[in-house]
């Protein structure tokens, strides 16, 4: 699970062009879409959906499900693990 979270952070930094961020800058429980957290926006949300399919083979089709899954790195990792089973 820790390796998944680290990979997730690396993919997010690269795909979302967060050039000034390192993996160590993103806390597992930091809110991804809050200005107090990572500060992602709506376009980044779309990129996360593309990222899920590209790297994990998961299609996020339910917006409510996506909203819950994309809260933090922890929730994203849990979502990926759940969908993989």
């Amino acid at each position: 699970m820790e390796s998944l979270k680290e990979d997730l952070k690396k993919h997010i930094i690269e795909q979302l062009n967060l050039e000034d961020l390192q993996v160590s800058d993103i806390d597992d429980d930091a809110p991804l879409f809050s200005a107090d957290g990572v500060g992602l926006d709506s376009i980044d949300a779309l990129e996360l959906i593309v990222l899920m399919e590209k790297f994990y083979g998961i299609q996020v089709t339910n917006p409510d499900e996506g909203k819950e899954a994309f809260l933090t790195i922890n929730t994203m990792a849990d979502y990926i693990e759940k969908k993989r089973i």
Partner: protein
């Protein structure tokens, strides 16, 4: 009479403000040229990294003008500065990258897609500077100084007190960028005419 009071030229290897080179590309650096320029500005604006090269070009040109002349732009209210930009490639540089994202990598990129219109650079400048005035992005076969002169004067005649204008030639590594500020009430600069627009662009023989 209006005057060009500040201008910034960016090529593939140099950045100049009012004719003076302020940054030369470091070929040994691992950073891209535009990233080197951004770091030179010493700004805290992470949104820069999400922009495409066209938006970055407009952003960098305007920020170097602001850095060289910090009192110029803030002296105007939010609807008094108009934006007037043009090029001959539209957003082709990003269009190609977006096409590659879905054609080659089978993964269409939303963050590239939002930049597949050339006028998005105007939105980025407006967000950064809180500009709420007129704005226009045009595409021409080649650099068109007459356009800047005529449309710039129209903007100044219809309420703008200043015009931030620029030619943003960006395509697959080619960088031909000039950004200039035209002011109505500031006589300290070059008269706003065709010859001086060409001079500010820096490639007069191609006009």
């Amino acid at each position: 009479m209006s005057f060009i009071t500040a201008y910034c030229q960016i090529s593939e290897v140099t950045c100049s403000v009012n004719g003076n080179v302020v940054v030369q590309k470091n070929e040994q650096s691992v950073d891209t040229w535009f990233k080197q320029l951004y770091k030179e500005l010493a700004l805290e604006y992470p949104k820069f990294y999400k922009m495409d090269m066209l938006a970055q070009a407009g952003f960098l040109g305007s920020e170097f003008i602001k850095k060289g002349y910090p009192d110029l732009i803030p002296s105007y209210s939010d609807d008094e500065i108009a934006l007037l930009f043009a090029n001959s490639e539209s957003s082709a540089d990003t269009d190609i990258r977006f096409r590659d994202s879905y054609q080659d990598r089978k993964s269409p990129s939303p963050s590239l897609f939002v930049y597949t219109l050339p006028n998005i650079v105007l939105g980025e400048l407006a967000i950064r500077n809180k500009f709420y005035g007129e704005n226009m992005f045009a595409v021409f076969p080649k650099f068109a100084p007459d356009f800047f002169l005529q449309y710039g004067n129209i903007m100044l005649a219809s309420g703008a007190k200043a015009v931030l204008a620029g030619w943003l030639g960006i395509l697959e590594g080619r960088v031909e960028v000039s950004v200039f500020l035209i002011e109505e009430n500031n006589g300290d600069g070059l008269p706003f005419n065709k010859e001086n627009i060409i001079q500010c662009a820096g490639w007069g023989d191609q006009a």
